[in-house]
Symmetry: C2
Subunit: 271 residues, 2 copies
Amino acid sequence: MNAQQLYEQIRRKKSFLCVGLDSDINKLPAHLQRYQHPLLAFNKAIVDATAPYSVACKPNLAFYEACGAHGWAQLEETVRYVRRRYPDMLIIADAKRGDIGNTSRLYAEAFFKTMDVDAVTLSPYMGRDTVQPFLEYPGRWAVLLALTSNPSASDFELTVGADGKMLYERVLETSMQWGTPSNTMYVVGATQADMLANVRRIAPNHFLLVPGVGEQGGSLREVARSGMNSRCGLLVSSSRAIIFADGGENFAAAAGSKAREMQEQMAACLR
Amino acid sequence: MNAQQLYEQIRRKKSFLCVGLDSDINKLPAHLQRYQHPLLAFNKAIVDATAPYSVACKPNLAFYEACGAHGWAQLEETVRYVRRRYPDMLIIADAKRGDIGNTSRLYAEAFFKTMDVDAVTLSPYMGRDTVQPFLEYPGRWAVLLALTSNPSASDFELTVGADGKMLYERVLETSMQWGTPSNTMYVVGATQADMLANVRRIAPNHFLLVPGVGEQGGSLREVARSGMNSRCGLLVSSSRAIIFADGGENFAAAAGSKAREMQEQMAACLR
């Protein structure tokens, strides 16, 4: 899905919601645990319930890898299901991969060919060699970690360089030269509005993928005020608050309600 | 496998060789391509041929993920095979994962419980939150990217901070406070001997996992001189030069010969 199509979806659905499919097997409703493919059954129901209110979904690989090859297969099936049923949905593999050379090329193949998602999150530590192979697929996206919302982001991301710039600022400025706003996005945590505003200043035209709204204390209105550009330019991701809104048989309807609630707040921000 | 056992293996085998199972499906010998599980068949033969000369093996996840769930299953089978057949072999999942909080805990579970490897490579970008869950498994290892050997390592790893230290130096110094030399290793590229010596100065007691010898221009003798400590403290990884030493039916014997050649050079370094 290219940038134009994504902008169009945001306008049509009045939403910039990304539903995080952090489908932790230990937290799934009890009745699903008996299924042969519990992650897949859960994901299908969640996507069906939330698709009217969201433009993207974002499975985090950890939750599938914890179930081994069986988990990986259910992730592949989830992607196939979303592709077939919701062709206008952006699918982001939250994989935070980062390797180099031939290995990076194979990762790009794994996600863009074998699994066929639209976007993959990447760690920038090893530099351009990590990202380049992902930029060679038209209509696909590299989503780089820039500024994350966890406490230990300060260990390295906020390190001040000899030039007075923090590492995340350097990551933004350097990597913006590798791709374009049509094939690169950035992960920016929602917890600090002033830093989000700073990211938007450095990267005025890129999509920012903002997790942590509704879970880690970020407020949607704050995020919209600090991070939006003239074409929106935001994907706000929420996972636990939506997918585990209800832990019982009613989980899908509850997820739908929660997604709708967020979409309504987003519609107000988009006015 | 704990540090003591690993030191013991190095002494016994007179080797600090780690065989990189970068089993690229596109480069496998033609006769294996007809197998139902070509990656597994290849890996079994490679490990059988090289085990007498190596103390560790290191599958890189990209090459398995490129084959989807079928690839992941063959990786799991490979690990089970090595565990059963070579209980003294350290198994490193070269996954370069890096996430936070609950997600990081699930990654640790994926690799240390579900897949049951001894060690996982991790990217330090997001700080301590990424690494901590991996340090809570006795006898297992977090292997942090510090200084890599690719050209674009200079994009961020070599950035000089306001304190005059490069990012990789800060990564070393900071992360050494999270764990111990018994549960943390560092990935250090082999291409620049002076930097390897600098890493060894900062981290005198940690194992260093050094890729790039024999492939990216690093010389084994240089690496041993700059990186060894009194108990060796090195794992030198080689993949393509060993596993693709011969592209035909003779691939396993050729891999064995190449591994033996490297082991003999290592024995000389260990004297």
